[in-house]
Symmetry: C2
Subunit: 108 residues, 2 copies
């Protein structure tokens, strides 16, 4: 499974409304566009286009079911961002390395 363009991921999550949509899908599970529209506080077309952007970043998947479309979060698409932080965020790297070294001492 080819990783999504990191650029797409970073760009998609730069907008607070899109982050909120992704968060909602992560917490509450799959939902229709209608439900997400009620949640988001912007118009339905706006939600649709935000979802399109998230989809291009592979952060969500959709499944058509009759007249409604169900969207679900695809959290493993965050991998490029995690990798980036892993690489360039010393704060994070430290925290991770500490655990990993413990892990290695545990299972040599």
């Amino acid at each position: 499974m080819p990783q999504a363009n990191p650029n797409h991921v970073f760009r998609a999550l730069a907008d607070p409304t899109r982050r909120a949509l992704f968060e909602e899908l992560s917490r509450q599970g799959p939902q229709t566009v209608h439900a997400l529209t009620r949640y988001a506080g912007v118009s339905q077309p706006a939600v649709s286009r935000h979802l399109t952007v998230l989809k291009r970043a592979k952060l969500v998947r959709n499944r058509r079911a009759g007249r409604e479309t169900h969207y679900r979060a695809q959290p493993d698409a965050l991998a490029p961002m995690v990798d980036w932080l892993d690489h360039y965020g010393a704060f994070w790297r430290e925290r991770f390395d500490r655990l990993e070294s413990l892990l290695e001492r545990m299972e040599p």
Copy 2:
């Protein structure tokens, strides 16, 4: 030390040129605007403004030394992004939880 606005962090890192600047500072250490301009491939004023955006997100700090300004990466400002991923990225959370549970079994 109050965490930077998560919005600022996400927005700042959404631009590839700004990410490149932050990466360069992370890898090579502090550098002047001049050096960063040679690296970035855009004009000096453009670099200056990108650095201002990164600074608002607290991702970089600057120190004036005579006529030059030295910028350095401030990786712990990535914390809001790490926290967010920790919360909403199942992929990531799994990886982390697995290590943490091992850690707990080690040090009860």
